[in-house]
Amino acid sequence: MEHHHKENFFTKYIFTMDHKMIGKQFLITGMIMGIVGVMMSMLFRLELAYPEQSFPILEFFLGKWAPDGVMDPNMYLALVTIHGTIMVFFVLTAGLSGTFSNLLIPLQIGARDMASGFMNALSYWFFFLSSVVMIASLFVESGPASGGWTVYPPLSALPQAMPGSGTGMTLWLISMTFFIVGSLLGSLNYIVTVINMRTKGMSMTRLPLTIWAFFVTAVLGVLSFPVLLSAALLLMMDRLIGTSFYLSDIFIGGEVLSYSGGSPVLYQHLFWFLGHPEVYIILLPALGISSEVIATNSRKPIFGYRAMVGSILAIAFLSFIVWGHHMFVTGMNPFLGSVFTFTTLLIAIPSAVKAFNYITTLWKGNIQYTPAMLFSIGLVSTFVTGGLTGVILGDSALDINVHDTYFVVAHFHIVMGLSAIFGMFAGVYHWFPKMYGRMMNKSMGYAHFWLTFITAYGVFFPMHFLGMAGLPRRYYSNTAFPMFDNLADINVLITYFAIIGGIAQLIFIFNFFYSIWRGPKASQNPWRANSLEWTTPVEHLHGNWPGDVPIVYRWAYDYSKPGYDEDFVPQNVPLAEGEESGH
């Protein structure tokens, strides 16, 4: 950079416009939100294993919402609601996409920064503000939002329906509004940067798959988040100024309300028009990260690069025409149900292609087991396990059996929750040296992976069996129905796994912060990887490269290429005489 500003603490760490620092801000904020979200799940798992029993720890955390240590049903619903909101939006959307899109897009395409550093900073600060509002909503008198993370009206629109639909719900909507604005600013920036700022030689077909994933994710976000924004604003109007977008013919609290002509199902259409692409907004970055990590650590090119890009695009396109599969039992036109069944099951094809290509990438590889690699293989496993049950849920006729049961909880936690969080862990372990110039501790990484992998399946796999026994989700206690009494043991087992798994995350958090200050210094290219971020100096520069931006001559996957002594050929190495690039 020609002029290098003097940086003080505030310009360097707080109001920074450097994409690398903004990425780290997203990561740390996402981690803090993640800790809150995971702790909540441990509290409600305790309730589910031992319903209506007294635990002092519940009173310690929940105060008046757990009188004598017994959790209030409203607080149970609040916990599942905020857990879902935090994990889906704050951890796996902002925390995952925000962190790695910011960190990697400029570094991997060979740009000095994002197209607009200011917009990028603004995007983080909207996210920060929305996190603060969301956390603040936990402490209001009438309790946080508790209508489920999808906040369907009328439940979420009427304070008479449940205490959580009071101030807590208003704050939830305000928080989400900020969140969406932040997300849109970020996404626009990512799109513009990827299209315009690639270095010389970096054609679209030479982009690492991470960038393809972030790029398509950003497009999905820009097209779908505005719809959620309008859904939220309409809901806000129904709540605050008495409009009837979603409400009609309601008798509650002993009186008829004056709303008429609205439809609660309209909200569901708007919500899921974002909601389903959102699943892929969460998942695609994780798949992108694992593509990179698996190729690098198998020391092989990713198998079927073009098919991988094609399947990302196919999944992204299909994700916009499948939202109705969340609504098979809302009474919508049966023909519409048929269409959504058809489009939904089509998604299985590009997903299968991705899974098989990952596995073939491992074949005849020379696999280097970094913690990142383990998490990526874990991702492939959960992606397959969870994806398969989607074939059941996407079929409208079968969905009737298990809609809104624990079968669904198992499905989306495994395919979306676990896969995405494994991708996020893989990303942190893999790019930690790039972020902090130090290495994370390997042994703790291994311990973290194995405990997480085992407990994660231990928590979510048994839930399929609960669902097949007909157990509905979002029940505060299963004791009201004797037919579920024989499932109590499974719930206890799940809770043990959940608590061990939750505590195991302390290993990661400790490793993370310990390594920031005390980890051994990283070399410039510790994983012997090809992509451009490893050509930048370990010490961060605003502007990324001290001299000229490198020129790209090949794709990012020339691992173990015949004719080279080393098993990797970075993208900025010119083609040898007679060598064909192929890309």
Partner: protein
């Protein structure tokens, strides 16, 4: 005071771990450990662990099927239910075959190709034939599932009736269910929230001629072998009428009506004799006796399956399926709207 000492303890514990970490890292760097880089030994250990734990997971899935598979709902008690279950079984078969092939391959490859010094990976970028193969094969299987699924779906959403179904309204409110039988005319009288008052809990318009023979009850009795068309309404928030034993589910949406039709095939008395149900009841009662709770007798039940507020978990209604004669006798005892309102 207690909290303070806990915090102090945690801080001390973290500091201890930090010191232990430092010592171990210093000692490993003295012994020539390379900056947390992956060694050949790590690849060996982790590759073997992956196979071990991975196959452990695959086997534990088998164990779960064996240990918990029988918890699944008993055979369906409705006509369309067995169609759904056949499709369910085929889908489960396909996804389980894929699961038990793909997962072991993944873990085996992870083990087999664990990094070794001196080996070089094979440069293998793509293979169009192979990729086409695993695009087309899933597509074929999905085509079967889609076509069959759509068939079942349209059959149960748009049933072709040989006889006129009995119309029953299910009315949802926080946190209970009310049934309204359409009476001799098989037509429900008009109802609206504006008419709700006193005993008129579902808001029947008593001026509507169709309403006079309607019957409002808190128990749901159904005649076996007769098609029943349910109309769902809700008073306040969205609820969902979930009949797990009949493989039926439909949301109840305030401001509009929704429908679902099914034909019960087993009376309550018959299902109580079902082998799976008997085992289930025995198992549950063993647990209940140990806890000093009442003995449970199996009943069909209607659950709420859409989050609707604090007592969502306890919004239920008993369903009694009986012979036509029993049903007729029961319904004769009930008072009509004209008599009660």
């Amino acid at each position: 005071m207690n909290t303070v000492s806990i915090i102090v303890l945690i801080v001390l514990a973290v500091l201890t771990i930090v010191q232990v970490m430092r010592i171990s890292e210093i000692s490993s760097s003295i012994q020539g450990g390379k900056d947390n880089q992956v060694s050949e030994k790590d690849n060996d250990t982790q590759g073997k662990l992956l196979l071990l734990v991975g196959m452990g997971f695959v086997i534990s899935v088998l164990v779960m099927y064996w240990a918990w598979g029988y918890h699944s709902l008993p055979a369906p008690s409705s006509e369309h239910g067995s169609e759904i279950d056949s499709l369910w079984n085929l889908s489960m078969l396909i996804i389980n075959v894929v699961f038990f092939i793909v997962q072991p391959i993944l873990f085996y490859f992870g083990y087999k190709y664990r990094g070794k010094k001196g080996t070089k990976a094979v440069y293998y970028e793509h293979n169009n034939k192979l990729e086409l193969f695993w695009t087309v094969v899933p597509a074929l299987f999905l085509a079967v599932l889609i076509i069959w699924g759509l068939n079942v779906w349209s059959g149960l959403m748009m049933p072709e009736n040989e006889e006129e179904p009995i119309v029953i309204e299910l009315y949802a409110q926080q946190f209970n269910w009310t049934a309204r039988y359409s009476g001799g005319d098989n037509q429900l009288g008009y109802a609206t929230v504006h008419e709700i008052a006193g005993a008129n809990i579902v808001g029947v318009d008593t001026k509507d001629a169709y309403s006079s023979d309607d019957i409002i009850t808190k128990e749901l009795h159904l005649p076996v072998g007769k098609p029943i068309k349910f109309e769902f309404r809700s008073q306040d928030v969205i609820h969902s009428a979930f009949f797990p034993h009949f493989r039926a589910q439909m949301n109840c949406v305030p401001g509009s009506k929704t429908y679902f039709q099914f034909t019960p095939t087993k009376t309550t008395a018959e299902i109580r004799q079902d082998k799976d149900v008997k085992n289930h009841v025995a198992e549950v009662n063993e647990i209940r006796l140990a806890k000093g709770e009442d003995v449970w007798e199996f009943n069909y039940v209607l659950l709420c399956n859409k989050i609707c507020g604090a007592a969502h978990y306890n919004m239920q209604m008993e369903i009694i399926v009986e012979t036509e004669d029993e049903f007729n006798a029961w319904i004769k005892e009930q008072k009509t709207v004209a008599e009660t309102l």
